[in-house]
Structures are given as structure tokens and as C-alpha cells.
């Protein structure tokens, strides 16, 4: 009985973390899978989202707890009645994180998205490192390398700690479902079709009268906001943040591997890829000797990305080819009033 319970506990933790990665993978899919913009600074938006939520919801800092930051929003207390007993502060924090991620994505995108794709990639890389350095060195902002460790639990009093991950896992799966529906809706709209057109041929798209830059910017902002949501979910799931969390390996590279393995350009693929790669990542811990060496896993992530690009660029589930029937084309051609 005990062993079954421990397996369930293990699985719930697995779902929580893989689910968080699935959210990032979804966000990255908008960038790379649908628009073809090359973001290698996922950890920037991860960090911005996570820290925004942490700062907004943490209790005011106290010197007795060895905390150096000067302001914590303490939303669970300060919202008071407006939490309505269902911890609405969680969503207020999420909203704040979305705003911060969206604005920073807009600034970086505004500067670099007009230019070649690879400038943009380097700019995102620079943003990721800069954000990490700011959170590491500005102690007044987020407690520096000691990290934030008094982050409140979402609906913590409703569920006993032993079973909390079951609840949070289900909550994350629900959130993934909602985000999936939203992204799917956006991608299948005319707006999403323009993004795909940009990915396939930028010049042709701009020739047909679309402002490529603005569409890329919107796509970048949308993806960054979803990554911000991922950061928030991470913050309240793990309830400890320090700048080391946002090391490029665990916050950027692995997400790329997830998207590439699952299938870029397919939202289901992005989610499944996250669960598969995280399973490989954690379950190789049980292997003997140097096979469970974390550095070896690092190597495997790189190998995985390279091999997928070389031999199976569409991943496990490739993008669905959209087939237009003559009916659809007629509908498109109909004059609209």
C-alpha cells in the first residue's frame, strides 16, 4: 500500500514539473513553431514571470528572516476580502506577471524583430543573461542569491500538504488545457494563418499586404506572456526561487528539446514532448553509475536537438497539413459586408 502511494506521489510531482514545462513549450511553439522566430532566451520570461509573482505575493520582508528585499506585495493579505476565499490573489499575481513579460517582450521585439532573425536570437540570449544578473545582484529587488522562500501556497489551506501536489497537478493540467484551447483558437484564426505564412515566406507575406513586423511582434508578446504564466505556476508550485533556477540549461535548452522532440508547429506535440523529455530526464536518475550523471543528460539534450533537426525535423507529431476543400475557398472568396 505504501509503495503504491509513493508511486502516486512520485507521479504527481512528475506531472507538476512536466506540466510547467509543457506551458513553456506551448509558449515557445508560438514563437518557433508557428512564426519561426528564434528565441533562445526563454529563461528571461520564465524569470520575469516567476519573480513578478513571487514579489507581488510574498509577505513583507522581515530582517529576522534574513531577507534583504525591500518590498513584497503580500497580495494574499492586502487583497483581503477580494480573495473571495478562493485565493484570487494567485490570478492577480499571474496578471502582473503577464503584464511584465508582455512589456519586456514588446521592448526587445520592437528593437530587434525588424532585423534578421539571428540578431533577434542573440538579443533574447542577452536579455536572458541580463535578467538573471539583475535578479542576482539587486538584493533590494528579489533578495539576490539567497532567493525568495516565503512564497504563499495557492489554496494551501484547502488541501493537506501530503496531497497538495495531487491538487496542483490537476490544476496545472486544467491550465494547460485552457491555454491549449486559447492557442489553438488563435492559431486557427486568420491571425494565426498570417503567422504561418510569415514562417514559410516573409517576403511573400509582406507582398500580400501584411505588416510582417507587427505580426511577429504580437506573436512574440503572446508567447512571452504564456511563458510568464509558466513562471507563475512554477513559483507557487516549487515555492522557492533563486537566480540559479534560471540557468540556461534547465530554463531554455531543455524546453527547446521538448518542443523539437514533440513536434514544432503542433500544440499537442509541444505538450507531449514536454512530458516525454521530462520523463527521460528524471527517470534516467535511476540508472547506475555515470549514466545518471547530470552532465551526461546535458549532452543528451544537445544530441537530441541536433538529431531531431537532422533526421526528423517534424518531431513525433508533426504539424498537421491544412487541406482546403473547394467549399472553404468559396467561403473565402465570398464578398463580406
Amino acid at each position: 500500500m505504501d509503495s503504491i502511494l509513493s508511486i502516486f506521489n512520485y507521479l504527481s510531482t512528475y506531472i507538476v514539473i512536466a506540466g510547467i514545462y509543457a506551458i513553456f513549450s506551448l509558449g515557445l511553439n508560438i514563437h518557433w513553431g508557428f512564426t519561426g522566430i528564434f528565441n533562445i532566451g526563454i529563461s528571461a520570461f520564465f524569470a520575469l514571470g516567476a519573480y513578478t509573482a513571487a514579489i507581488l505575493t510574498s509577505a513583507s520582508p522581515s530582517p529576522e528572516m534574513f531577507e534583504d528585499f525591500i518590498w513584497g506585495g503580500n497580495l494574499p493579505e492586502s487583497l483581503g476580502f477580494f480573495n473571495l476565499g478562493i485565493d484570487l490573489w494567485y490570478f492577480v499575481g499571474m496578471f502582473g506577471a503577464i503584464i511584465v513579460c508582455g512589456i519586456s517582450a514588446a521592448i526587445i521585439g520592437w528593437i530587434t524583430l525588424r532585423l534578421r532573425d539571428d540578431y533577434f536570437a542573440i538579443a533574447t540570449l542577452g536579455l536572458a543573461e541580463t535578467v538573471r544578473f539583475i535578479f542576482l545582484n539587486e538584493k533590494w529587488l528579489a533578495n539576490g542569491s539567497r532567493g525568495m522562500y516565503r512564497i504563499p501556497k495557492f489554496l494551501g489551506e484547502w488541501f493537506p500538504p501530503a496531497y497538495y501536489n495531487y491538487f496542483y497537478g490537476i490544476f496545472i493540467l486544467l491550465l494547460i488545457f485552457i491555454l491549449y484551447k486559447i492557442v489553438q483558437k488563435a492559431i486557427n484564426s486568420p491571425w494565426g494563418r498570417v503567422l504561418k505564412a510569415i514562417r514559410e515566406d516573409e517576403i511573400a507575406t509582406s507582398a500580400s499586404g501584411k505588416n510582417v513586423f507587427l505580426f511577429k511582434l504580437q506573436s512574440f508578446i503572446l508567447g512571452a506572456c504564456i511563458m510568464g504564466i509558466g513562471g507563475v505556476v512554477y513559483t507557487h508550485g516549487i515555492r522557492y526561487l533563486d537566480p540559479l533556477t534560471f540557468d540556461p540549461l534547465m530554463a531554455t535548452f531543455i524546453i527547446w528539446a521538448m518542443l523539437m522532440v514533440g513536434g514544432s508547429g503542433n500544440n499537442k506535440g509541444a505538450i507531449i514532448g514536454a512530458f516525454i523529455v521530462w520523463a527521460i530526464w528524471t527517470w534516467t536518475d535511476f540508472l547506475p553509475g555515470f549514466l545518471s550523471d547530470p552532465n551526461l543528460k546535458f549532452l543528451m539534450i544537445g544530441l537530441l536537438i541536433t538529431l531531431v533537426i537532422l533526421f526528423k525535423p517534424e518531431g513525433i507529431i508533426g504539424e498537421k497539413k491544412v487541406k482546403l476543400s473547394s467549399k472553404d475557398i468559396d467561403k473565402e472568396l465570398e464578398p463580406t459586408e
Binding site: A121, T130, F133, N137, L296, F298, I301, G302, L303, P313
Partner: protein
């Protein structure tokens, strides 16, 4: 007091002067000043400003460190010019170069993954041959490091050729977009870094060294003798690259391919060979840069290359993408800016300074100071 009267009352010599200034056409004149003169002028002006502000020490440091960055930046910019993609793995090429030299020159090489079973360490190649002298003259390192540089350059060039053959060329033949190829180099970057940290572990390492006093040049400038020497090595290699690009057949065919690949192909230039040569030069410079930086900073970790990517790309963008001379000057400017900034703010933000310069250049002058590809 009408206007005509007023104009008449202006003295004649002043009118002549005004006309003269008008005829000078200042903007054109500035453009017609040769680039090297502008660079020299910029150097003198910034150096004087550095002296006035009392940061001449940091300025010289920055110049030397920038010359090390230049080795990496020239490689990236050449790859941009010929193969037309952002080689994201270049930083990890540099790390790999530094780590390839490690088992040659270190007196104790402990290999990480074997240490799971039991401690496994061996003596490096040169110390095993009895060449274990360190602290040559005023320097912290021994002359073996100079022997290791060409070996490491050679091995890295072979690795680069292998990657070109089995990864990048395949993608090009398949007609993948430039971004897809950059993406592949991103995968390669992670792969290389993972391989390095699997074999050598992630702890801080350095080549064998003995601490040596700084060299006092005067005017408040103290330089570690190492850095001075490394800067000279780096500049020599840059000059060698300049020679190859300008005066040899390899360089001429490279420049032709960069200007117009189709025309180059029609005139009988073997593009694949040109690309191979580019890889060899870029990888060789990267290996050397990695070793020099590891010696200069007296430490090496597997993630050092990934962090160097930001200043190096900033240098490339600042000099104009695809322009090797621009990359050299850009690297010097970035080096100086990063070092001088430590006087005024937290040294941890050095990378942020390089990043900010890059963003500024991209907003104001996306083609860089000296013009490059779009």
C-alpha cells in the same frame, strides 16, 4: 533698417568665410576621411578622455581583453559572410579549444565521469614529457601553452569540418532556412558543452600557473604581463587573418563568395572548399581565443563560452555583420566599454553593457559602424 542694409553691413571677410564653410560640404568631407584615420582619431580621443577621467588603466585592460574577443568575433563574422548564419556554437568552440589544451599542459588531469568508480587522474602530455615548467619569465604560464595552441587549433578545425560535413552541409542541401541552420548550431552548442562537462566536470579549473606581479608601465597603468603577451598573440593572429584574406588565393575566393556567391560559383570557385576554409579559420581562431581567455582570466568552466557569446556578437554587430575588420574594431570597443564600465557600476553588469551597446547599435545603425551585410 531693412534687410538689404543689414546684409550689406556684414563685413566682407565674414561673408567670404560663410561661403567657404558652405562650400566645404562638411558631411561629405567627413565621409571622405579614410576609415583608418577615423579609427586612429577615435582611439586618440577616447584614450585622452580615459586619461582625463583617470580610467586609463581600465582602458588598456579593455583593449587587451577586446583583442582576445576579436579572435572569436572575426570567426563569427566570417561565417556570417560566407555561410550566412549565426554560429551560436562559437562560444562553445572557444570553450572546447581551451579544454582541448587542458590535458596537454595540466600537470594533473582528473577526468570526471570515471571518478564515479574511483579517482582517475593522469599527468598531462607535456608535463609527462618533462616539460612542466611554469612561470616563464614574467608570465604565469610556461611555454608549453604556446605548443598547445596550434594542436588545439588543429583538433578543433577537424571537429568543425566534421560538423560542417555531417550537420550543416546536410541541412543546406536540404534547403533549410538560415534560422534552421542557426538552430542546429544551437543544438551543437549544447552538445559540445555537455560533452565538456561530462568529461571534465563543471568545477572551476585553470592551467598550471604561478602568480606574478603586475607590470608597471607608468601613467597609472598596471598590466598583468600575461595579458600584454596574450594581446600581442591575438593581434598577430588577426594580422595573419588579414594577410590570408587580402593576399592569398583562399582569402580572395572567400571574399568573392561573400560578395556574390552565384558569381563566384560561375567563375569556377569551389564553394564547398571555400566554406571548409572558412570553418578552418574560424575554428582555429576560436580555439586560440579560448586558450588565451582561459590563461588571461586564470580560470575555465564549461559555461564560459556561452557567456562570451554576448560580447562577441555585440562586437560583430557593432563592426557590421560580415566585416572582419569591423569585427576587430568592434571587439576592441566592446572590450574597453566593458572594462571601463566597472569603474562606474557593479562589475557583474559587464555583460549587460555589451548587450546594451548591441541593442543601441541595432536600433540606431543596424548595419554597424563600418557597414556589413543586411
Amino acid at each position: 533698417m531693412n534687410l538689404a542694409n543689414r546684409i550689406n553691413s556684414i563685413p566682407a571677410y565674414f561673408k567670404i568665410l560663410l561661403g567657404f564653410i558652405k562650400n566645404m560640404n562638411l558631411a561629405n568631407r567627413i565621409n571622405s576621411i579614410p576609415a583608418y584615420f577615423k579609427i586612429l582619431l577615435g582611439f586618440i580621443i577616447t584614450l585622452s578622455i580615459a586619461f582625463i577621467l583617470g580610467v586609463q588603466d581600465l582602458y588598456v585592460h579593455g583593449m587587451l581583453i577586446g583583442s582576445l574577443f576579436a579572435l572569436g568575433a572575426i570567426g563569427i563574422t566570417l561565417l556570417y559572410a560566407i555561410v550566412n548564419f549565426a554560429h551560436v556554437a562559437h562560444g562553445d568552440f572557444m570553450t572546447l579549444g581551451a579544454f582541448l589544451a587542458f590535458p596537454l599542459v595540466a600537470s594533473v588531469v582528473d577526468v570526471e565521469y570515471v571518478s564515479y568508480a574511483d579517482d582517475f587522474a593522469f599527468t598531462g602530455l607535456f608535463p609527462a614529457l618533462g616539460l612542466d615548467q611554469v612561470g616563464l619569465g614574467p608570465f604565469t604560464f610556461g611555454f608549453t601553452i604556446l605548443l598547445a595552441i596550434p594542436i588545439s587549433m588543429f583538433i578543433l578545425a577537424i571537429i568543425a569540418i566534421g560538423l560542417e560535413k555531417f550537420v550543416y552541409r546536410k541541412l543546406r542541401l536540404r534547403g533549410s532556412s538560415d534560422v534552421m541552420i542557426a538552430m542546429a548550431s544551437f543544438g551543437v552548442a549544447i552538445l559540445l558543452r555537455g560533452a565538456i562537462s561530462t568529461i571534465f566536470g563543471t568545477q572551476l579549473r585553470s592551467y598550471d600557473r604561478i602568480s606574478k606581479p603586475f607590470l608597471k608601465i607608468g601613467w597609472g597603468i598596471d598590466v598583468p604581463p600575461d595579458l600584454l603577451f596574450l594581446g600581442i598573440v591575438a593581434v598577430t593572429l588577426c594580422l595573419l587573418t588579414h594577410y590570408i584574406l587580402q593576399y592569398t588565393k583562399i582569402g580572395k575566393s572567400m571574399r568573392a563568395t561573400s560578395d556574390n556567391p552565384d558569381l563566384a560559383m560561375v567563375t569556377g570557385i569551389n564553394i564547398n572548399k571555400v566554406i571548409m576554409n572558412t570553418w578552418i579559420i574560424a575554428a582555429g581562431l576560436a580555439a586560440c581565443a579560448g586558450i588565451l581567455i582561459a590563461v588571461g582570466s586564470a580560470q575555465m568552466v564549461p559555461q564560459m563560452g556561452w557567456k562570451l557569446l554576448i560580447p562577441i556578437f555585440a562586437a560583430v554587430v557593432l563592426g557590421g555583420v560580415g566585416n572582419a575588420y569591423g569585427a576587430f574594431i568592434g571587439a576592441l570597443i566592446i572590450g574597453v566599454a566593458m572594462e571601463v564600465s566597472t569603474e562606474y557600476m557593479n562589475p557583474a553588469y559587464k555583460l549587460g553593457v555589451a548587450f546594451t551597446i548591441m541593442l543601441l547599435v541595432l536600433t540606431i545603425k543596424p548595419r554597424g559602424l563600418f557597414g556589413g551585410k543586411d
